[in-house]
Symmetry: C2
Subunit: 222 residues, 2 copies
Amino acid sequence: MPNGSRTEGGAVPSAVVNRLSMYLRELHHLLADGKQTISSSQLGRRLGFTDAQVRKDLAHFGHFGHPGIGYRCDELIDEIRKILGTDRQWNVGLVGVGNLGHALLGYKGFASQGFRIVAAFDADPAKQGQDIDGVPVYSSASLAEEVRRLRIDLGIIAVPATYAQATADMLVAAGVSGILNFAPFTVSVPEGVSKVGVDLARELEQVTFSVMSRLRAAAEPS
Amino acid sequence: MPNGSRTEGGAVPSAVVNRLSMYLRELHHLLADGKQTISSSQLGRRLGFTDAQVRKDLAHFGHFGHPGIGYRCDELIDEIRKILGTDRQWNVGLVGVGNLGHALLGYKGFASQGFRIVAAFDADPAKQGQDIDGVPVYSSASLAEEVRRLRIDLGIIAVPATYAQATADMLVAAGVSGILNFAPFTVSVPEGVSKVGVDLARELEQVTFSVMSRLRAAAEPS
DNA sequence: GTCTGTGAAAGTGTTCACAGCG
DNA sequence: CGCTGTGAACACTTTCACAGAC
């Protein structure tokens, strides 16, 4: 039961997987700009990594490059999508149609990567039965039923911290394989379920720490 | 110009800072539950870290523990807040009042950590002049002016990927010290400005990769 | 006895540097 | 040549294990 960063799972460090997502994103931009191929050093420079890092990351999964040429963008996109699992569609259920949940229902970035939010759930009866950006809102009580009916693979938790663990438990019991948790609470899930947590305030704290470091370094140039 | 994870800045690894935020969050829960003190092993267990890791992380910044006792929750909260810089208030400006931006304006989790969104900006004239959750929406053209007038420290980018770099440039030119970027694009900022990127689709990809790993491991038990 | 703080050991991840291919 | 893939060197993080404090 390892370390600090992310999911847990296999031989591949989660930092590598994180970068894979970035490569994928950059490759899409590249392709949109009409570029056919890219070298590890060019790709790395755009994202702030070394060329060796890019090559090592990709080497975990196979031999995708062409010596003397680099990587073919479309080819590499396909390969990375296969690795990440986004070469297929994932059905997603969102729990908690508050401020954040509402925004996530309308977020375009998910669909383009193969994620389809097929159902939302909320404890508030006033919200149940609504249709938000094409997504129907169900009662929390019917979560298990709908997860099975709609073949929901992944759950997004967007409820207050207090209900985060209970929500995670319901999702797990209903049989989802993975959870993305936006509640500022570390939920625990059994082995066999993947979990990633995103805490927006925490992300801002990373920024302020970095700002503080600079201020402190400037103050005492020891 | 180092590695993969996060900001850059100083002698302290960004992974440590990430965990610091988690400790802080957990300590708040603990205090709310009436706990006065906590040991490194208890705190670690709750978050999935070892006791030694907790102690080492904190030791980067000082001697906050009491041998035989553990850490006093309120004391440690104060210390971590000082370290992260959240012992004071930060004025935040949000650019892009779309789906996501709108949700962030109403997000409660920011205020409790000392972040106050004091202004929002959008290129759409229909949104300008509105007041969303108590936050006034200005035109993008007036960004520099308002950043200075309202003493905005940090910028949040919630515009489409296409405008992300231009938005970052404007924020930097206006004089913010840090940026939290939600656009799915790696913006570049000059040294002297802190930057953290959050890509929601990327977070889901971390989940699917982990799910895929399990599936693949189950398929070929080599 | 409980628990912190910390050097030393173990373990991981990153970079270097070069052989080999196109 | 330019560029990948990769063992070996290096750097960094985490864990161990124990001295010292309560």
